[in-house]
Symmetry: C2
């Protein structure tokens, strides 16, 4: 029996030594090299998922780049199904909530959207910069912003249109600089966004503030102007936490960078 | 070549037809049945991970039980490595933060801990109740609480001891009822917890309030008493959000149940 087993091991390995054209991965068991690597891959998968959950649950202190060992994991998450599924889920939940809101009143019920990684995707930029493995370079990123070619995040565009059609006032609140107003407007329009009530960007006196401070101040001003902030979508916790928080907030996934 | 390929396919499948004692899963490629099932399993894994991330990021509206299709996923997460790794990560992050706090001053710097699924684990109870697949039954759960045998969450016990030794005042703030004070104290002591400053339970006037309201009110009272709440650990967002929020909060994982 042991001899038979050895012959079978040899024969099951044999296809690996044959030319590629007769090796069909859909029919044959996968090459042994993958089997050997799996325990390590599973451990990395588990640790990097745990890291990503900690990011999404706001458990980490400010970080400047993703863990070295999670480079492949984050790339795969962003470019395969994971990111897309998570975006759909959170935007779908937001839509269910939006439809449940009583819209009667003074017509000043507002939904706030962040811009980068919320309405617009900078994935083409981050694909060229290691999906978060490189420390953020504002000069290079500004060059990307100034092209004005960031595509829409489709799930957000769908939510945006629904929220508008329900009668929410849409406020765009972004950490982008006031000097990028014009290109940001062009990019948003080109990506399909329309009819926002306000687009708020960082003015010169907002530089130096954390995003949490800046966005809290702007939300407080909106409340003073009479807006009722009932929904808020952002990919950073600094879009959500602080003062004058929205009745409900939706944290879009983003394992590539952290803004305090 | 095609004939050779067919022979190799046959021989690679042959081990499946042989008695178990000559089939060594560590040496042979895994049985084909697992390969066939993988795409479905991977899809469930992906969807349930996405659901769990949405729970941890506070993106879901109140839910009463876990999705039916995630029953096996949540059981595996709780009983295999996932839960343990996530607990270690969040408690480790909390420890790093705790050590960074400037402890000088009036000696009233406080760390709040929730009890269930934060200091004490009810996993033995939930193992008997489908890990969240069953709707919460307060009568049965109370019977479990009254045994007083919930074990410590080891990562939390380690953090608890460190936080105490750093000089934080430890406040335990739980949704458990005042009538369970005595058994809760016994259980906490038996699990290794010591020297808390206060144990706050729901009194009769707190029943009917959401956990967010009840815990916010209690935090506000603590602030009025002069405590500076600089750390907060809980497995529910209702432990964390609301008024008088802690300077930093740590969301422990819990995919089994949701408390609004």
């Amino acid at each position: 029996m042991i001899f038979l087993k050895k012959i079978l091991i040899f024969l099951s390995i044999l296809p690996l030594a044959l030319p590629q054209d007769i090796f069909d991965p859909d029919t044959f068991p996968r090459p042994l090299i993958i089997e050997i690597n799996e325990p390590h891959l599973k451990e990395v998968q588990l640790q990097c998922t745990s890291w990503r959950v900690a990011v999404e649950a706001n458990n980490l202190s400010p970080w400047k780049k993703i863990p070295e060992e999670c480079g492949d994991y984050v790339r795969d998450y962003m470019t395969q199904k994971g990111y897309e599924i998570d975006l759909q889920r959170v935007c779908n939940e937001a839509g269910i909530y939006a439809r449940s809101v009583n819209m009667s009143g003074d017509g000043k019920i507002a939904w706030i959207f962040d811009v980068d990684e919320t309405l617009l995707s900078n994935l083409p930029y981050y694909a060229d910069h290691g999906y978060g493995l490189e420390i953020f370079d504002s000069t290079k990123f500004d060059q990307w912003v100034e092209i004005g070619m960031a595509p829409a995040i489709e799930s957000s565009l769908k939510l945006y249109e629904e929220v508008l059609s329900l009668g929410f006032k849409v406020i765009l609140l972004t950490g982008r600089s006031e000097r990028h107003r014009s290109i940001t407007v062009d990019n948003l329009l080109q990506a399909g966004y329309r009819n926002w009530d306000k687009l708020i960007l960082r003015s010169s006196e907002d530089h130096g503030k954390t995003a949490t401070m800046y966005k809290s101040e702007k939300r407080s001003e909106l409340v003073e102007e009479g807006y009722h902030i009932l929904g808020n979508s952002g990919d950073q916790w600094s879009d959500i936490l602080g003062s004058s928080m929205s009745k409900r907030s939706f944290k879009l996934p983003n394992p590539m960078y952290y803004i305090p």
